[in-house]
Symmetry: C2
Subunit: 325 residues, 2 copies
């Protein structure tokens, strides 16, 4: 099933069901008002949402209208919690070089996860505002999962059953501010402005066998101003979402609607390119002695879409323009 949240003036928006081919959509009228309520009451609302989705896919839903990504907010415009990992070790190693981080002895055994702001997520095609283009405006292409209630102490074995929906994410970052915040030890705050999401959240069956070992095994195509810079595959996550969930739930419960991010999708194979500019720059620095690719500035566009083998984009497309805030 594919679900989207349309803008309606409220903080949480309204839930729409979207056809598998992203051509048609219908509001979840009479079933459930918002994505958050759907996740909270999943077992209760799933049959009716599924029936609506099935009718939509066979063009038998009389109230269907064309799907409009422009009307989409993030699937959860505000979520109870946003925990973003750095689960691709290739990305972690490159960033450690870029930031000149001290050695992390637990790098391969304990997931790195930061708690991010979840009060102001952005939709797929909205301009994204920053106060200053000298702060190293960068993107981070990621995958994520939206969870049901996860009790404290949930194991990695039990964690997959709590995954309700998959999402595709651009975790906007300000690189000039990250290293100082890391060194201070309290984690990212100014370095992590509002995060953006592709228009639809999907149940894992929508990507079939590409949901493997609690990882999204799809290439994430990333373009800057129309030029593709990355097509790294999400299957190369070192820690699975299940392991990250267990890590996060060790000393707390995670309430329904919590979103867990993979961190920047990154592959050891250089041919896969990069899902963020910092990686591109550190590779340039290592290979040629100088980082040439600039960070983003006003008017630059970033496009991201995961692709199935048939070329379709199961989450739709993130296509945003950097704007002066």
């Amino acid at each position: 099933m594919k679900l989207a949240t349309y803008h309606d003036g409220s903080s949480d928006g309204q839930l729409w069901v979207v056809s598998r081919d992203l051509q048609r959509a219908v509001p979840a009228v009479g079933i459930v008002r918002t994505m958050l309520e759907a996740v909270e009451e999943w077992d209760l609302v799933l049959p009716a949402l599924t029936a609506l989705y099935d009718r939509l896919n066979v063009s038998q839903e009389a109230f269907a209208v064309p799907f409009e990504p422009k009307r989409c907010l993030a699937p959860l415009p505000r979520a109870p919690q946003w925990l973003d990992a750095s689960a691709f070790l290739n990305h972690g190693r490159l960033m450690d070089k870029a930031f000149d981080n001290p050695p992390n002895l637990d790098f391969e055994t304990i997931p790195l996860v930061y708690q991010g702001a979840s009060d102001d997520f952005r939709g797929p095609v909205a301009d994204i505002e920053f106060p200053d283009d000298s702060l190293g405006i960068d993107m981070e292409g990621e995958f994520g999962v939206i969870l049901s209630n996860v009790p404290m102490g949930t194991s990695a074995d039990a964690a997959p059953s709590h995954v309700r929906l998959l999402v595709q994410i651009n975790d906007w970052s300000l690189r000039a501010l990250g290293p100082r915040e890391m060194r201070a030890g309290f984690g990212f705050l100014q370095a992590k402005p509002s995060t953006a999401f592709a228009p639809v959240a999907v149940t894992p069956d929508e990507i079939a066998s590409h949901w493997q070992d609690c990882r999204v095994g799809l290439p994430l195509h990333v373009e800057i101003n129309g030029r593709e810079v990355g097509r790294a595959n999400g299957g190369e996550m070192h820690f699975s979402f299940a392991e990250i969930i267990a890590h996060c739930a060790r000393t707390r419960m995670l309430t329904a609607g919590t979103i867990i991010g993979s961190g920047t999708v990154s592959n050891a194979d250089r041919a896969a390119g990069s899902s963020c500019i910092s990686e591109i720059r550190v590779i340039e620095l290592l290979d040629r002695g100088v980082a040439e690719t600039p960070f983003l500035t006003w008017g630059d566009r970033v496009r991201m879409e995961a692709r199935l083998p048939d070329g379709t984009a199961p989450f739709g497309v993130i296509d945003q323009r950097v704007a002066r805030g």
Copy 2:
């Protein structure tokens, strides 16, 4: 005005207005359903809430019943965002010694703030569960502010007008997990389980002249198992809430209902005691060469109340028991 959130089975609870002397309460029926909605629609609902509060204080509210802190959730049982500072430099200096942190050159000029979990705040007298009592279970007595929408780039001068309500907080912490998370650079996650709140959130006028320079100038009395260990004054914050708000809003907006914490209330005067056990232990270590006060274990009780000069507790009392999760 004093406001509380009563448990009603929903995630956000229901809003009640509480009399100034914490003796009587009345539901905000017909005005606004939840604390979050009240903060979001503050200007719209304030006149009716104020009228109800005034009737309650002069015992002319027919629907008033005795106030029951046991029915209270946290004022915001889940908030859009929770940003907790470490604004008392005396605490920061002692914790740097306790954790053997590397020097922070910006210590006196840039506030340290971590993004915490805001999906599962706890009420004032609910047992607080942890998975393991070998993790260094500790408290942190704090003050906090609940904000209206704060635009990106709001200055410290403009920030005070965004403070809607003041709260009193116990930021439960697991000290065995903090140093590793600080060193890893992504901030606290496992080290910061659910945070607890005193029963009532109050408008700044409730503490009159003790709301000074965007600081809560009241002593916070902290007891462990009936023994007072701290009475540090919140007026000694190095960074004001206004400065912390401006720091947090530099690259993002803060949506209505965001809570900003002061960090552990701590005074340079040793006679004021401590609002957390880690401070007590590091002082013991410095003075006597050995940290004697143990962290908390199952059944231990922690009580916290700020007091006005007349001895009353404007936020009510946090009184929780540590329980096995």
